[in-house]
């Protein structure tokens, strides 16, 4: 992240909610030199000349952490870069993101990692970590120099975008992990079962004549890799769960003591393959695909019972011309950083499907699987705060996006709940324009 001054601010009378730290109540949140100095009774904190934010009626949460973001650097800067992607993260209330390595070329050498970290120091609005690929250039043939990549600062490893087809190679990576550490994050998909599929296999794909990606394409690979992780005692993280069978596979592995964590995306938690009937690839084409309602319900249940550790957006920006083509030809992926909280609040919390505290917990749950400290509002911690107005109604895209791309699955949706201000890594990373104007007045 860009270096700057530690924030000095008082959030006056905010409703503070940090379920993991057991904090819930109305407080003044006092931030000094970039750390949460104290939580006082409302109105009790001395201002001492620092900025005061009138936060009565607003919620202060531990800022969110997204372990699955595509910043598209190097090579695809027409879609996104470190500056725009991290700004989108800040606007979504995130205090940390991990960037995937499936760039052009992929992040496979220590020099690649060093260059990205340098770019983040110059341009990132929020702390940004980088994964390196598991296999050299993501070709699935040989391992990268995992030790040297870790020394260069790679947070972990992933060939995200592609599965590791070769079980022997994955086993070697899991063995090597004992030397160098670093969670291995897995895109789980059997390419033979997926074939040229463009959406979930089921009645909707049958009606549209689109080749289907069956749920078992994902769940069979999770079962294989959980067994490998168990055998090697290794640490794996399963990316973007989409199918009910996959939730079962992870639940079974966790019960058996496998060191496995996993994530689900806001779009898989809110949408089903019914949305694909519109044949709109900009909003509804991604991999893994949107699945059936029973799958969505299973993901929600997994979120509730802790099988799913965290929400991860799989923020995947694409240029307009890569999406303004027939569904089967369109690029896979949707953006999600700027809308994750608002979408899940609108679609799951307001209807009563899940509690607000669960959402807050899971949105910040992406740090620990990668050995990063979970954001918290406990006094003494680095200031990582998302200040949100749960009643704010807004139309996604109406004021444009911080991201360079417009392929938001929420485009045009009216959502309730909005991030007004984000503190990340001890600095003020974002203020919603209308909110900061309000403060000035």
């Amino acid at each position: 992240m860009r270096s700057g001054e530690g924030a000095e601010v008082v959030l006056r009378g905010a409703t503070v909610l940090d379920p993991v730290a057991g904090i819930e109540g109305v407080h003044d949140v006092v931030v000094r030199a970039g750390r949460v100095a104290e939580l006082t009774a409302p109105g009790a904190a001395a201002a001492d000349g620092v900025e005061e934010v009138e936060a009565e009626g607003l919620h202060a949460f531990p800022a969110f952490f997204d372990p699955h973001v595509h910043l598209r650097v190097p090579g695809q800067e027409h879609k996104e870069d470190v500056e725009t992607g991290s700004r989108a993260a800040a606007a979504g209330g995130y205090c940390g993101i991990l960037a995937m390595a499936n760039t052009e070329p992929p992040v496979s050498t220590p020099a690649d990692v060093e260059a990205l970290r340098e770019a983040a120091r110059e341009a990132a609005s929020v702390p940004t970590g980088f994964l390196a690929t598991v296999t050299r250039d993501m070709e699935g043939g040989e391992l990268t120099e995992m030790g040297a990549l870790r020394d260069a600062g790679a947070v972990g490893f992933s060939d995200d975008g592609l599965p590791i087809r070769n079980a022997r190679l994955l086993r070697r990576a899991l063995q090597y992990q004992q030397l160098c550490g670093g969670t291995i994050a897995l895109h789980e998909e059997d390419p033979e079962l997926s074939g040229d599929g463009a959406m979930h296999e089921g009645p909707v794909s049958a009606a549209l004549g689109l080749a289907g990606i069956p749920s078992v394409s994902e769940s069979t690979m999770i079962a294989r890799d959980a067994a490998l992780a168990a055998y090697e005692g290794a640490r794996i993280h399963v990316q973007h769960l989409s199918a009910a069978e996959s939730v079962d596979a992870v639940r079974t592995a966790k019960a058996a003591g496998v060191r496995i964590t996993c994530e689900a995306s806001p779009h898989h938690l809110c949408l089903t393959d019914e949305a694909v009937r519109s044949l709109d690839p900009r909003r509804f084409k991604m991999n893994p695909p949107l699945r059936a309602e029973a799958d969505r319900q299973a993901l929600i249940e997994g979120l509730r019972d802790g099988t799913i550790d965290c929400v991860a957006t799989d923020h995947a920006p694409h240029a307009a011309e890569e999406k303004e083509v027939p569904f089967e030809q369109a690029a896979m992926g949707v953006t999600g950083l700027e809308t994750a909280f608002a979408a899940l609040h609108s679609e799951l919390v307001l209807p009563g499907t899940i509690e607000l505290s669960l959402l807050v917990e899971r949105l910040a749950g992406g740090a620990e699987p990668f050995g990063i400290e979970r954001p918290t509002l406990a006094p003494g911690s680095e200031a990582n705060i998302a200040l949100c107005d749960l009643g704010a109604e807004w139309t996604v895209g109406e004021e444009g996006y911080e991201s360079r791309s417009q392929n938001s699955w929420c485009a045009g949706l009216e959502l309730t709940g909005r991030v007004l201000m984000t503190l990340a890594g001890g600095q003020v990373a974002y203020r919603l324009r209308s909110f900061s104007l309000g403060v000035a007045a």
Binding site: S205, A206, A207, G209, L210, V325, P326
Partner: protein
């Protein structure tokens, strides 16, 4: 009706209006001069990204019979070959102010996209494995002439349903007209969940005797390379419609082109039960009716009359 994108979008009444219109064009077809001036001075673009014989030929002839100016583009040999996007091609063609664009494309939803990018009426002449509405309409027309109503009739669609846009459009269309549809084929070629479109599913020809109409689909020979079927011989043994399996009172249809000896035996193709040649003939009048309904009907259902004054299309279409 502003566009014809999918059978799914049409009400029974809209389908019947097109079939009635096609009847009146069949009458025109028996005259010495088969041309009517309805679309004089207006342009129809035929844009085919996939090879086609009967669909492109009949749409183009339909446009000419209606006196439209025709621009015919095939993907091979055009700017599409040079990497131009569908959207850019659309913008280019729109400069000619076409009244209609008839498009065949290898991917689902292409016609729908084009409809969003142009002022012209768009006719889907086949989009990927999704829909082929004009084929469904000509099949309905053919059957209506033979059977009168389809109400309560049993129609079996047999073969490679998975890769067939005709199967999808037809099972929706047959169902809309009151027929009971069964799809039949090897499990790997029947899409999972197809029964939710309102058809029965079977993997055996055993009950074929109940069918009033047997609609066979083309099996591409490449399918065995992808292990959808182990061999053509094994497929034919289980699913070929031949004179032994086809009853004397059953009608046989096929969208063409036929693989003789694969999905149909040669004698079945040439049997008196076969409507295949009638289907081709219906293609012309039904496609004339489609262009007429989109471009000239103005919402009423008067039959086309020679010398009738030209009318502009409804400027803002009803939902397509």
């Amino acid at each position: 009706m502003k566009h014809l994108l999918a059978i799914e979008d049409l009400s029974r009444a809209e389908i019947e209006a097109i079939l009635d219109r096609a009847e009146s064009f069949a009458e025109v077809g028996r005259r010495d001069i088969k041309k009517v001036p309805t679309l004089r001075g207006r342009t129809v673009v035929s844009l085919f990204y996939e090879s086609s014989t009967r669909t492109s030929a009949s749409f183009e002839l339909a446009a000419k019979r209606l006196s439209a100016d025709l621009v015919s583009l095939k993907a091979a040999g055009s700017s599409v070959d040079k990497g131009e996007s569908l959207k850019d091609t659309c913008a280019t063609l729109s400069a000619y102010d076409p009244a209609a664009i008839v498009i065949r494309h290898p991917y689902a939803g292409a016609a729908q996209l084009v409809a969003g990018w142009t002022e012209a009426a768009v006719v889907n002449a086949g989009d990927g494995k999704h829909e082929h509405p004009s084929q469904a309409l000509l099949d309905l027309f053919t059957l209506r002439r033979r059977l009168g109503s389809l109400e309560g009739k049993r129609i079996w669609i047999v073969g490679d349903v998975l890769h067939s846009r005709v199967a999808r459009s037809n099972l929706i269309a047959f169902g809309a007209m009151g027929a009971e549809v069964t799809v039949c084929g090897p499990p790997a070629l029947i899409p999972r969940g197809i029964e939710q479109l309102g058809c029965a599913v079977t993997h055996s020809l055993e009950g074929l005797g109940e069918a009033d109409v047997v609609y066979a689909l083309r099996l591409q020979r490449e399918r065995m390379k992808e292990s959808f079927v182990p061999s053509i011989r094994e497929y034919a043994a289980h699913f070929q419609i031949d004179s032994r399996r086809l009853g004397p009172r059953q009608l046989l249809m096929h969208p063409g082109p036929v693989n003789r000896g694969v999905e149909l035996s040669g004698e079945a193709v040439d049997s008196p039960q076969s409507l295949i040649a009638e289907q081709v003939a219906s293609g012309l009048v039904v496609r004339m009716a489609i262009l007429y309904e989109l471009l000239a009907s103005g919402g009423d259902s008067a039959a086309p009359v020679e010398g009738e004054p030209e009318r502009r299309p409804t400027p803002i279409g009803q939902p397509a």
